[in-house]
Symmetry: C2
Subunit: 267 residues, 2 copies
Amino acid sequence: MEKIDNLKYAAVPPKDIRALIRAGKIDFNTSGMCAGYAQANLVILPKSSAYDFLLFAQRNPKSCPVLEVGDAGSKGLKIIADGVDIARDLPRYRIYEKGVMTGEYTDVSRFWRDDLVSFLIGCSFSFESALLDAGVPVRHIEEGKNVPMYMTDIDCVPAGVFSGKMVVSMRPIPHNQVVKAVTVTASMPRVHGSPIHIGNPSAIGIKDINKPEFGDAVRINEGEVPVFWCCGVTPQSVMMNSKPDFVITHAPGHMFITDIKNVDLKD
Amino acid sequence: MEKIDNLKYAAVPPKDIRALIRAGKIDFNTSGMCAGYAQANLVILPKSSAYDFLLFAQRNPKSCPVLEVGDAGSKGLKIIADGVDIARDLPRYRIYEKGVMTGEYTDVSRFWRDDLVSFLIGCSFSFESALLDAGVPVRHIEEGKNVPMYMTDIDCVPAGVFSGKMVVSMRPIPHNQVVKAVTVTASMPRVHGSPIHIGNPSAIGIKDINKPEFGDAVRINEGEVPVFWCCGVTPQSVMMNSKPDFVITHAPGHMFITDIKNVDLKD
């Protein structure tokens, strides 16, 4: 696996990173970029499915904390970022048709339709800089990898056509910093908030901690506890389960970087 | 005005209060009832308007913190209360047609349709018991009145067909307890959270603090500051402005009482 030193993008403004992405110069995962700024998961659906999905998000707020919903047909946003082309400003997209992934792209302009609605959903990447600020290590950033993400056996609350299992991300935390990791993330509910589980992967249906379904495995040291947070990849699990005709999402770990600072998500 | 001593209902379980309401024995405002339990504002709309309204709520979370959305056509709820008949379990309802209030009712069963969707929205009443627990006075409860509510000149963020001005509720707070009132309510974002304004009614477009648009005026003592919170009557302001064909809401102050404790809304 290619090791990417994303920390060099930690101090670059979001607008400049989005320009590099749009120009095709960044097509890898965004973990660690633009420290302090919220990153977002993306789900784009036809208007006909948008109500069910917005309701799904409302019923599953820790998995799907909605930061912004675009107007139907618009590639722009009004609240979390300026000058956006949502079809070009993420490093990688995936398209699912009837639950099957039919392609991965760095630009989805040619698939755009007048009935598409963009959902931007809070991302655990955006609390990682708060953890680092608090002195809590973030292993996959240290290792230059994508965060490990796992399917659980926890059912999301269904809404209309959407149902499926919860996906979680995992960070190994030293015993004596677990409480701090909880309190730091609990103060940020719009980016998944507090952990969903601490300690025992099998209690939430994870069979092998070394084999994440998405992202990369990371080292868990002696004296560290695996801590699990709800993950914005959950919508993809839901898409695979619910099989709508057409969906565009971000590729796991390849997020939309907003102009909103994480501290502004605390109110 | 009839003075109602709602404090005698403070220790009655929500289920029993809902039974009294359904039996027609309580048809007055619910302020102070079921201390510690969340109360909710109600908006019932046809499915054709439900997406725009859910999006409006997502874009205006301090005015419209959604606690639950029912399934289309269902009079029951799944999350915030058991055994509910949403058409009978509130003390008073209002019906608006094309923006005009066409009636006030204690039972709206005969208006029910298979395409109606119920939205339950967090209510500032439910943080009043937290204020009382913290030793902060709540004037309208002391005076046996409905909370004073005002139209402001603040525009909500529009969504689809819905737009309009923000409505706020007001409580006079002694100078030396204002900070405590902020911190107590800030920890409860699903029931409107922290105040939207402190101190100067004219700064948010309120012309006469003694003439609330909804509810009752209350006494403001020497040394007290008027503190304003976003109010779940905002949807009614929006209905009057946006004029959808058919809407059922609660009557101001006449709320749905849930089985959810306020402390469970803090996570």
